[in-house]
Amino acid sequence: MSYSILIVDDSMPMRTVLKRSLAAAGYGGARILEASNGKEALTVMEGDWVDLIMTDYNMPEMNGFSFLKKVKNEALFKDIPVVVVSTEGNDSKIKEFMDAGAAGYVTKPFTPEALRDLIVSIIGEADYEESIDDSDDEFDF
């Protein structure tokens, strides 16, 4: 099964790194959608189904927390797991996100292994064959 993953981050380099980390974690075959803030992500989601959302917290226009609340309050989107990938890693912030319905929280810096373990626990293993076929990345940590 090929997954569709939405990456929401205002940093273009960080979106690239997340894509490469996903490929390294075995999700190279996933269809990756991108948005640079929560508002843009909601627009993307109106036109495309996604299986998993990975969002930053600190973004202009609509931050990751407001975005998470919007997703969880929308009947069509509320079951989509949302993983927060953020530099802000204090316990109260993590609790705030988890209480609001986040499926997981990854603090930067992270390793692809940590990212993989979390994603597998949420959406399951990637189709390894497909991931290898579709990925032209030579990415090794």
């Binding site: 940093s11 790194v17 600190n58």
Partner: protein, 151 residues
Amino acid sequence: MKKVLMTAMTNSISEVMETMFFMPVEIGPEMMLNDADIDLNNALACRLNFTGDICGNIDVISPEPLVAELTSNFLGETKAGLTWEQQFGTLSEMLNMVCGNALKNVKCQQPYRLGIPEEITSSDLNGTAECTLIKTMDSTMAMLLSILVSQ
């Protein structure tokens, strides 16, 4: 408190640089930015504001070739085709990670919040301020912590 914050920042730098940029670093001495042997006219600089028990900002100033190397390592692309956006975005992300990672380890009453990194130029920098040097294999960048309000 500034010393506690700076210690947290320097510990964080090593972790971020090794984990995300595959670049071991050595934390150098503190000195005036003007004495740091960094050509400010050929450097990229970035500032990040933070608020919490202490409010302030942290600047990173890096020679352009070092930014290119960081970006190349971070994105897995060759240095030749890198755009300014990629390079500045990478430097911003590095500062963001260093600061966020450091502040989560500092005991506080009020959780710290980070701003959005912004580009600064040499005219925004105080050359007589004390900065901490971060030495890589073949280059050096500087990090400068300024406390604005202590609550």
